[in-house]
Amino acid sequence: MRTVLDALEARYPMLRGTIRDQGTLKRRAFLRFFACEEDWSHEPMDKALPEVVAEGKEPLLVIGAIAGGS
C-alpha cells in the first residue's frame, strides 16, 4: 500500500495530507482502504497488496468513511 500511495501522491501532489497525515504518513482517521472487497484500513502499510491489485486488474479503493458528519 505504501508504494501505491507514494506513487499517487507523487503524481498528484495536491493529495498529500488528504489520505495520510503529512508528518506521520498514517492513514487519516476517516479514510478507509479496500482491496478485493476486504477492508485493508488496519493492515500494515508495507503488507503486499493482492496480486490482482498489484497487476492493475483490481483497484485499491480509498474511500471517505461513511460517517454522519454534519
Binding site: G17, I19, R28, F30
Partner: protein, 371 residues
C-alpha cells in the same frame, strides 16, 4: 463604476457574491469546493484577482486553494503545515500537557505589499507564512517559542489563531489573537513576540488578569489608525489606544457584551460594530432579535441597528470572522450568520437587507472593493 465582491466561507463550500456600488442587486457564485468547510477566504490587496482559501474537512484534512482570476477558477497549493523543531506541548482542557497538533487553517492574511506573501493562522495555534503564493509554508516559531506557549489552553472551539492584523505603517508589526490564549504582537516581522493582554479581565480563569489565558474572540483595526485596536472578548468589548499595551473596557450600554464579530467603519475610525450574543452558553441574540450595535464614540455609547434585520424568532450566531466592511464612500457593512444568511448594509448600518438567506452555516465574510 466600483464593484464589491463578498467572499463567504461556509460549512459546506465557498460563495462569492458580487454587486455594483449600489449594492442592491447581487450575483451569487458557488458553491465552490462543495461539501468542504471553507474557514476563510481573503484576497490580496495588491492583486485583487489573487484570492486564498482555507478548505478543510474531517475526512481529508487541510487543502489550500488559490485563485488568480477573482474566484472563477482555483488551484490547490501547498498544504504542509509543520511546527518547527520540537513541537512541545500546550495545556489541554484539563490542564494536562498536550502535544501540538495541526488541525486546520482558521484565517488567511495576505501581505499588504506582495501578492505572493500570505500569513495563515492555524489550530493548534501557530502562525505560518508563505512567500510563494501558498506553495510552501513555514512557521514563525517565535510566537509559540516566546515563553508562554506551554500555558496556552484551547477554548471550546479549539486552540485557534483566528486573527492576524498587519500594520500598514510598520511592516514589522503584526497583531494576532488566539482562543483562548489572548492577543500577541510582534514588532520585528514575527521573530519575537509578546503578550498584549494587560487590562483584560477574565473571571473564569484562576488569575483573572493573567498574562495569557484570555479568550479573545476577535480584534479589529482601522488601517488609518494602526495603533488603535478594538477587541471582542469572551465577555467584554475592549479598546487599546497604544498598540495593545493597555486595554480598557468599552462595553458601556450594550445589552450583553458577549459576542464574536467586531469591525470598524472604513472612514470613521471611532465607529465600531458588534453583534451582541446572549451569553457563552446561549449563542444567539437576546430575545430572538438580531441586532447589530454601533458605537460612534469608539465604544461605551452604543445604538442598536435593526432596520431590515429579523426582530423575532431569530436564533442565529455571527462567528468571529463573519463580519466585514467595504471601502466605498458610504461604507458598506456585511455579516453572515450560522443560519446561512448574509446581510449587507450600504449605508453604514442604517438599514440592512439579505444578499442570500439559505446558505450553509457561514464561517467567514470578507469583502473586496474593486475599481
Amino acid at each position: 463604476m466600483s464593484k464589491v465582491r463578498v467572499l463567504v466561507g461556509t460549512h459546506k463550500g465557498a460563495f462569492i457574491l458580487t454587486s455594483d456600488a449600489k449594492r442592491d442587486k447581487w450575483e451569487v457564485s458557488g458553491p465552490h469546493f462543495a461539501g468542504w468547510e471553507i474557514y476563510h477566504m481573503k484576497a490580496s490587496p495588491v492583486n485583487p484577482d489573487r484570492i486564498y482559501a482555507s478548505q478543510t474537512s474531517g475526512w481529508f484534512g487541510q487543502v489550500m486553494q488559490r485563485s488568480n482570476d477573482g474566484g472563477k477558477t482555483w488551484e490547490p497549493v501547498g498544504n504542509k503545515f509543520v511546527y518547527e523543531g520540537e513541537a512541545g506541548t500546550h495545556q489541554w482542557y484539563d490542564g494536562t500537557p498536550h502535544p501540538w497538533e495541526f488541525k486546520r487553517v482558521w484565517h488567511l492574511e495576505p501581505s499588504l505589499t506582495d501578492a505572493e506573501t500570505v500569513f495563515a493562522g492555524a489550530e493548534d495555534a501557530a502562525l505560518f507564512k508563505s512567500t510563494d503564493g501558498g506553495t510552501n509554508w513555514a512557521e514563525l516559531p517565535g510566537l509559540r517559542g516566546h515563553g508562554t506557549g506551554p500555558k496556552w489552553q484551547p477554548g471550546a472551539g479549539g486552540m485557534c489563531l483566528h486573527t492576524v492584523i498587519l500594520d500598514p505603517k510598520d511592516v514589522g508589526r503584526i497583531y494576532i489573537a488566539i482562543s483562548a490564549a489572548g492577543a500577541f504582537r510582534t514588532d520585528d516581522g514575527g521573530a519575537t513576540w509578546k503578550p498584549i493582554n494587560k487590562g483584560l479581565h477574565s473571571q473564569y480563569i484562576p488569575d483573572p488578569t493573567a498574562e495569557v489565558g484570555h479568550c479573545v474572540h476577535h480584534i479589529a483595526m482601522n488601517p488609518a489608525r494602526p495603533g488603535v485596536l478594538f477587541m471582542q472578548k469572551h465577555w467584554d468589548v475592549m479598546r487599546s489606544d497604544d498598540a495593545g499595551e493597555n486595554w480598557t473596557e468599552v462595553s458601556g450600554n450594550l445589552p450583553t457584551d458577549f459576542g464574536f464579530a467586531i469591525d470598524v467603519h472604513t472612514h470613521e475610525p471611532e465607529t465600531i460594530y458588534v453583534v451582541p450574543i446572549k451569553s457563552d452558553s446561549e449563542h444567539f441574540p437576546l430575545d430572538g432579535q438580531l441586532r447589530v450595535y454601533r458605537s460612534r464614540t469608539g465604544g461605551n455609547e452604543w445604538e442598536p441597528l435593526t432596520k431590515g434585520l429579523p426582530q423575532k424568532d431569530c436564533y442565529v450566531n455571527v462567528l468571529r470572522d463573519a463580519m466585514a466592511v467595504d471601502q466605498l464612500e458610504k461604507c458598506g457593512v456585511y455579516f453572515g450568520t450560522t443560519g446561512g444568511q448574509v446581510y449587507a448594509s450600504a449605508d453604514a448600518g442604517e438599514s440592512w437587507a439579505p444578499i442570500v438567506r439559505d446558505l450553509p452555516k457561514v464561517l467567514s465574510v470578507e469583502v473586496q472593493t474593486l475599481p
